[in-house]
Amino acid sequence: MSSADLLSRNDLRLVRSELRLVLTRRRNIAMLVVLALAPTLIGVAIKLSGPGDGEGPSFLASITENGLFLVFTALVATLPVFLPLAVSVVSGESVAGEASTGTLRYLLAAPVHRTRLLAVKLVAIVVYALVATLTVAAVGLIVGGVLFGLGDLTLLSGTTIGVGPALVRALLVALYVAAMLTTVAALGLFVSTLTEVPLAAMSATAITVVVVEILDAVPQLSAVHDWLFTHDWLAFGELLRDPVSVGPLLHGLAVQAGYVAVFSALAWARMATKDVTS
């Protein structure tokens, strides 16, 4: 199969069906609600207690001046654990969930080509990651706007931009964060092809993310840090400078693309040869 017809127009119905399955599932909606709580709680806490004395994430102090900073603070707060956890759950479920309910055999007998099934699953997971990130960002924007008001944004480099361009920067930040989660999506998809127990795939994926984050924090391993998929996650701060220094951002995107390619290939190799006995 050439990459051109990997997902054709005929597959859109299955993509839509898959998106509906992922986005209407109660557990997945509950995770979005929990993610939405993060900016809400941070915003309310700061409103009640004041900006504090400079401890905590660098954006925290600026929130009282401009509600837009709640968007960035919430993303910094949810990116290490909550966002990858949500993506781990959805991606771990993807193939293993179908195997455990037995629906995998019927999808393949429909027939859905195995490679196409993986492509459809990956698309749905990435869309969920995007929705999760945008949920955090949008709730951060709304809560920040209501509690602290939105105004011109003073960038980290000192320049001030208007609300319109500031919102564009916020959107780019959210998209960058969602792109950082694609590795988790592909990793979870691969792990999900290895087992018929969704919970095992979910936890294995989440644990892998945490282990990589720990390795990224060990100074003795600094030689490999550049190539760990979590290393560039917080580089989105570069988008809040003027001019934007694209180097770290491109590095982050390139590293994710590499990992996505590797994990997708592993998932494909596993899926293509797998005896479906579930």
């Binding site: 054709s8 005929n10 597959d11 119905r13 299955l14 839509r16 069906s17 399955l21 599932r25 109660r26 309910t101 037995g102 629906t103 055999r105 019927y106 999808l107 393949l108 007998a109 429909a110 027939p111 859905v112 080509h113 040869t273 005896d275 479906v276 006995t277």
Partner: protein, 324 residues
């Protein structure tokens, strides 16, 4: 109806056979041979009963036919096309029920069928709703279509599985234990549904361990035992093929036995006041005449034709016990 006679180990693929395997073998990683050198042949228009005790390799065979499990050796064809190579063009014409129904528990019956329909990229999107409703109607689930699958009873789940298999007009239905979990009424309905589909020209391959099911709906039968196909062909032929026995009740059983022996019958024996032998190709009327001519007083002359159950036990040895 002229049907291609199915013979194991024939080399040519039968004319118009809708499901064919040659030397199909599956050895699982543990070394266990689940299916051993299987030569199936299901003629067009047949309702083929794939009979075997639990664990005899029926489901593994079906999984190989549908491309879910890769065979260790051997080949298979569905609707004349090689599998799994031609899966994309063949499987949309094949409805299947494999090892029971399986659906998403938190979706409704209708939404589950919509998803099954969406998975078939050759199905027309605009007529999806109509297909789904027709299928639900046909299995009697129209009123429960909006309920979540998780609250469905076992029988309703089985019906939904059949509805998915019948979403589109199919040329071949592969049904694994289709009446499993159904009450007597549901069982009757499913069997009449299968007859109906067969009458419309669909070839049906139905695996079962229920002999009554085979006797009621099947035109052909294949019997599996420990991974091997031990008999195959038109139902009447297969049940007739195993030796019918002749039983002569007489006060001179020894003389009767001698006559039968002289006529070339095999397996001649005296059991109390009766002589028994394999009928073979002999004609019962001529046997009686010969006995009378030899002055053997015949009290009763009986030809015991084996029932499918006798045949099944004879072929599979242990009957319904799990052999491994």
């Amino acid at each position: 109806m002229s049907l291609t006679e199915a013979r194991p180990h024939s080399t040519a693929v039968g004319m118009g056979a809708q499901l064919v395997t040659r030397g199909l073998t599956k050895r699982f990683r543990g070394g266990q041979v689940a299916v051993d050198d299987l030569d199936l042949e299901v003629p067009a228009g047949a309702v083929y009963g794939f009979l075997g005790p639990n664990g005899s390799g029926k489901t593994t065979t079906i999984r190989m036919l549908l491309g879910l499990v890769a065979p260790t050796a051997g080949r298979s064809w569905l609707l004349g096309q090689p599998m799994p190579g031609a899966a994309a063009s063949v499987l949309p014409r094949v409805g299947s029920l494999v090892e029971g129904p399986a659906f998403h528990p938190y979706l409704s019956g209708r939404d589950n069928l919509r998803r099954a329909d969406a998975a078939d990229r050759t199905a027309e999107a605009s007529s999806s709703a109509r297909r789904v409703d027709t299928a639900l109607e046909r299995v009697g689930l129209a009123n429960a279509a909006g309920k979540r699958y998780r609250v469905y009873s076992l029988g309703m789940r089985q019906r939904l599985g059949l509805a998915a298999a019948m979403l589109r007009p199919r040329d071949l239905l592969v049904l694994d234990e289709p009446t499993n979990g159904l009450d007597p009424q549901g069982t009757r309905e499913v069997r009449s549904l299968v007859r109906e589909l067969a009458a419309e020209g669909t070839t049906v391959f139905v695996s079962t361990h229920l002999l009554a099911e085979v006797e009621q709906i099947c035109s052909h039968v294949g019997v599996m035992s420990v991974g091997r196909l031990v008999a195959q062909g038109p139902l009447a032929e297969v049940t007739g093929a195993t030796a019918s026995r002749v039983r002569v009740h007489s006060r001179q059983p020894g003389d009767a036995a001698a006559v039968l022996h002289r006529l070339g019958l095999t397996g001649v024996a005296v059991e109390g006041d009766r002589a028994v032998a394999d009928l073979g190709a002999a004609v019962p009327e001529q046997l009686v005449a010969a006995l009378v001519r030899a002055d053997v007083a015949v009290e009763q002359f009986v030809v015991d034709s084996p029932t499918l159950e006798d045949l099944f036990v004879a072929l599979t040895g242990e009957g319904f016990d799990v052999e491994r």
